[in-house]
């Protein structure tokens, strides 16, 4: 039933990105390889009585155009800040393909809930919701509708919300839409905002760390939350950085804890490798989901040790930008994209694993990327595992360009 077949190339042609490490590739890349968690901040306005270390986006965000006031929320302002970095490429592709032939697939676990929280606080004080609040800011579908309206696109526009795998899944859907032939380009990615709901929710689940997250350490005690946005322009060319493989699985295990054996994580990674047509040995680097919870790190290391007979160097970007939840899959795919773009003379400079260096001896042994480490270039794999046991792994590689 496929128009183009499974071998349709999928080029991640341009990337706009915004995280605690900064705005845009040029600012983010040197800070990523430096591997210092120097850009995290402390916020005491999120969880009552509990100051939290977070990966917040700082500085002023762009305002939405006046005609899109119904969509004006922090989440969409972050999306706009990422889109401004690739605006020209988007307009060129939309002009060439036709606006009806460009789709939008966004991932988010928050959409504009931080603005809804403010609107409801206003209601508690005054009896009415804040007048600037519109439902389009809060509903998940508003995140993708905003992007389509911003560029006047007429292709399908939808949001995927599968918790912490949302961003990876948005890229997977983009690739499938291109293979289906229904559009010629997709704006795909994800944005998530630090808000009361997720910080209090994860805090109540007792998985938030008081210090900077410390993945794979014997001293790890939970996640550091973050926010940000990464948007890709995805097209059908064989050149440039390719989304080579996608692997998805569900866990049938628990709503808020992973299967301790890592069977779901393993299934997603194996499916992504098979889909990419790449043997485990060819993978040069793995970007860990690496949240710094006792359970995630234990099951993920186990799953990697089983999937890769001799695992490549791995690292988690969570200590640098926080766990950006629904955006994590897209942001960390973005970090892999940067790594591949910066590839030089057949060498890949790796994102170092920033932690206290006290490896938990109970974890399955996998090599960790040290600061300054370089390896022979090859495809890379990134993991995103979500609430409700929803997993997605992606394989990215540099094309023949």
């Amino acid at each position: 039933m496929s128009v183009h077949g499974r071998s349709t190339p999928c080029s991640l042609r341009a990337l706009g990105m915004l995280t605690a490490l900064g705005r845009g590739s040029d600012e983010i890349w040197p800070r990523l390889v430096a591997g210092e968690p120097a850009h995290l901040t402390v916020r005491d306005d999120l969880v009552p009585g509990r100051p939290l270390v977070v990966g917040a986006v700082t500085g002023e965000l762009p305002r939405l155009p006046r005609g899109l006031a119904r969509y004006a929320c922090r989440n969409n302002s972050m999306t706009l800040a990422a889109l401004e970095q690739i605006e020209d490429a988007v307009r060129d592709v939309a002009a060439a393909a036709g606006r009806r032939r460009v789709a939008v697939v966004m991932g988010s676990s928050t959409s504009g809930v931080s603005d809804a929280e403010a609107a409801i606080r206003h209601q508690h004080l005054t009896g009415v919701l804040a007048p600037s609040f519109h439902y389009e800011q809060l509903e998940f579908g508003g995140a993708s509708a905003f992007v389509a309206k911003l560029f006047g696109l007429g292709g399908p526009a939808f949001t995927l919300s599968t918790a912490c795998s949302s961003g990876a899944r948005a890229l997977a859907s983009a690739r499938a839409l291109l293979a289906l032939g229904i559009v010629d380009a997709v704006l795909a990615g994800a944005t998530d905002t630090l808000c009361g709901l997720t910080t209090n929710g994860f805090s109540a689940l007792q998985v938030v760390s008081d210090e900077i997250t410390n993945p794979l350490s014997r001293n790890r005690n939970g996640i550091t939350l973050g926010e940000g946005s990464a948007l890709f322009l995805v097209t059908r060319e064989a050149e440039g950085i390719q989304l080579l493989g996608v692997g998805e699985s569900s866990e049938a295990h628990h709503m808020s804890a992973p299967d301790p054996h890592g069977a779901g994580a393993e299934a997603a990674m194996r499916a992504a490798l098979a889909d990419a047509g790449v043997p485990p040995d060819a993978i040069a680097y793995v970007s860990l989901h690496g949240t710094g919870t006792a359970l995630n790190d234990a099951m993920e290391c186990r799953a990697i040790a089983r999937t890769f007979p001799s695992p490549p160097p791995c690292s988690s970007a969570k200590p640098l930008v926080g766990h950006t939840l629904g955006a994590a899959g897209a942001i960390e795919a973005g970090f892999c994209w940067l790594m591949l773009r910066e590839q030089d003379s057949g060498r890949l400079a790796l994102i170092p694993h920033a932690y206290d260096g006290e490896r938990d001896p109970e974890l399955a042994a996998i090599p960790l990327a040290a600061k300054g480490m370089q390896v022979a270039a090859g495809p890379v794999l990134t993991n995103a595992f979500g609430f409700g046991g929803n997993n997605c792994s992606l394989v990215l590689a540099r094309g023949a360009a």
């Binding site: 039933m1 809060l138 839409l177 289906l180 049938a252 709503m255």
Partner: protein
């Protein structure tokens, strides 16, 4: 057009719970009740207790549309415009008063809570996505289901769409034909059932005013109407046509 076979379907709204009742409704649509929720007795008590009203409707229709022997094998797409937002409002109220929220409530109101509950209840380890797209949620859920068939045509995809009218806090902010309903479609690349073609249509295609949510307009068309169906009020229109007339 992109083809798919509707191998099975199931719909639910309060008091309207079997195919015969929906066939009658499709011939002569009448107001649907808005209060009520399926009892989902097939779920273990521990899971059932934690299901939101939306999750109950989604699991009820999912189980009814998909034969037991395939429930662990299908890939799933759960589509809902509003998801569990009604369940989130009390949590937002608590946050406004700087009160703690329940971790269980929090983890059972995420947009993919239904997907997680289905996966646990049916022991399903396949790919699953959860979609929202404002007034185009049903069509985009259908499209997302087609992308899963594209990725692997060998197994079926279960599309589940449901919504519940928004609670008063937000209801006046949204204009839409609201209803309490669920619709599940078992879509496959082959097998028994009507074959439908799907495509996006030019945005100037005429769309008559709709009395029902898109998913129910689709069901009505699937059960009685032979003319191609066009849905969508925004920049993108969605068009379905029947390849082989069948009694669904």
């Amino acid at each position: 057009m992109i083809p798919a076979v509707v191998r099975g379907w199931s719909a639910w709204s309060p008091g309207r719970e079997d195919p015969a009742a929906w066939r009658a409704w499709a011939r002569a649509p009448e107001l649907l009740a808005s209060e009520g929720c399926p009892d989902v007795q097939f779920l273990p008590a521990m899971l059932r207790r934690r299901c939101s009203p939306l999750a109950r409707i989604m699991l009820e229709t999912a189980y009814a549309a998909c034969p037991a022997e395939e429930r662990a094998q299908v890939r799933t797409v759960f589509a809902s415009r509003h998801g569990n937002i009604n369940e989130s409002i009390p949590m937002l109220d608590r946050l406004a008063e700087r009160q703690p929220i329940s971790p269980t409530k929090f983890s059972h109101t995420v947009h993919n809570a239904q997907a997680g509950l289905f996966s646990i209840a049916a022991d399903n380890r396949q790919a699953s996505s959860s979609v929202a797209a404002q007034q185009d949620t049903f069509a985009c859920g259908y499209l997302e289901a087609l992308t899963h068939l594209q990725r692997d045509p060998r197994s079926a995809v279960l599309l589940v769409m449901a919504d519940i009218p928004l609670a008063p806090t937000f209801a006046k902010l949204v204009e839409e034909p609201a209803a309490t309903y669920g619709l599940a479609l078992l879509l496959a690349a082959g097998g028994e059932g009507p074959t439908l073609g799907f495509e996006t249509a030019a945005s100037d295609a005429v769309v008559p005013a709709r009395a029902w949510p898109d998913a129910l307009e689709f069901l009505r068309w699937l059960l009685v109407d032979e003319e191609p169906l066009v849905l969508g009020a925004g920049a993108c229109r969605w068009r379905w046509e029947r390849h082989t007339p069948s009694s669904a």
